[in-house]
């Protein structure tokens, strides 16, 4: 379990604690104002505030000796800030990370959330200029959507029933999208997204620049070699570069250090040879989030 599970999980995985979806929690952490400011200026937050002055070539900035490392450490510390709950700056993306969840957990999250609204993906709007309704917004975020017209799909803000939403995330998962829960500010949970590299803002920041905008999931994928036939279906599914298909053995190899526990390889495997194991089952990965 990650640090948040101990603090906000009530003995469970922290995103499965129903308290984190309540209106009272939203008000206690000032989620309404925070979310409105964050989503109103989503492009601004992404482009300017996360990397300090500007995102133009952050890789070059981070490679400056000593100074670059200090900037990187400072920005990274924003994502794990929890206090003060009120008065955080939404324009600096403080405390707005997400966490990868496998399909089963994503569906359990939907059972706790109410209402569920299907909205346009902010990241895809920003990076590709398209309107793709693939994000599910809950509670405070769902209330904010009518005030933010560019996130309303063409067919109008569509409220989904739990079962429809479950089918929807499954469809997204089969299509190769990573299910992620988003919270802002911690521990209030506001959305379940279907992310994809490189369009997803947080995945890009995490994978290319190593900043903790997206947390790894609570699981790690493991291959059962007695069931694996070496068909290679899983090979193209991993977006995190954790799964490689070794030709000599005709078997997939999963690098547990790189695995985000999204479970895309699990849902792809026709033999059911890959399973999700708790991250804590690997002592070396205990603090790797």
């Amino acid at each position: 379990m990650c640090e948040w599970c101990y603090k906000h999980g009530a003995g469970k995985k922290w995103y499965l604690n129903s308290k984190n979806y309540l209106e009272e929690t939203a008000e206690a952490v000032g989620a309404h104002e925070y979310i409105y400011e964050l989503w109103k200026h989503f492009e601004k937050v992404y482009l300017q505030k996360i990397f300090g002055i500007s995102t133009r070539g952050p890789g070059y900035k981070f490679s400056i000796p000593v100074v670059g490392r200090a900037i990187k450490w400072y920005i990274s510390s924003w994502f794990t800030k929890e206090k003060p709950l009120k008065g955080r700056s939404p324009r600096r993306a403080e405390g707005h990370p997400g966490q990868v969840v496998p399909l089963g957990d994503a569906q359990q999250v939907l059972e706790l959330a109410d209402p569920i609204l299907k909205v346009n993906c902010a990241c895809r709007h920003m990076t590709r200029g398209i309107e793709d309704p693939c994000c599910l917004a809950f509670g405070a975020l769902a209330e904010m959507v009518p005030k933010l017209p560019r996130y309303i799909p063409e067919r109008g803000a569509e409220q989904l029933h739990v079962d429809e939403a479950k089918d929807f995330v499954e469809k997204m998962n089969r299509g190769g999208r990573v299910n992620t829960v988003w919270f802002g500010p911690v521990p209030y949970i506001a959305a379940l997204c279907s992310c994809e590299y490189p369009e997803c803002a947080a995945t890009r920041i995490r994978l290319d620049y190593g900043l903790n905008a997206l947390y790894k999931g609570e699981y790690v994928a493991k291959v059962d070699f007695s069931k694996c036939t070496g068909c290679g279906t899983c090979a193209s599914r991993c977006q995190f570069g954790a799964l490689t298909f070794t030709d000599a053995m005709n078997r997939p190899f999963i690098d547990a250090w790189k695995c985000y526990g999204c479970g895309l390889c699990v849902t792809a495997c026709p033999e059911g040879a890959i399973e999700m194991v708790d991250r804590t089952a690997f002592p070396a990965l205990k603090d790797e989030w």
Partner: protein, 73 residues
């Protein structure tokens, strides 16, 4: 090699009508960006280039731009 992707905004105009550079760039380096700070549904959008350090200089954006607004430096 350090790359800079320069967009001529006088030639580019409103990127929402064209979006060719946004959609052809495989590593998604181009972003729709609102220079207006206050508006929540702004009519002024422009293409900005972030993450120039990830550019592979494939030149697809330069070739695809119908208004020849993009240059690689």
């Amino acid at each position: 090699m350090k790359t800079d992707i320069i967009v001529d905004y006088d030639k580019c105009g409103d990127p929402r009508e064209c979006k060719k550079c946004l959609q052809i760039c495989a590593p998604a380096l181009f972003l729709l960006y609102s220079p207006d700070d206050e508006s929540d549904d702004p009519d002024i959008w422009r293409v900005d280039v972030a993450f120039t350090d990830l550019c592979t200089r494939c030149g697809d954006c330069v070739e695809t731009c119908p208004k020849e607004a993009i240059t690689l430096v």
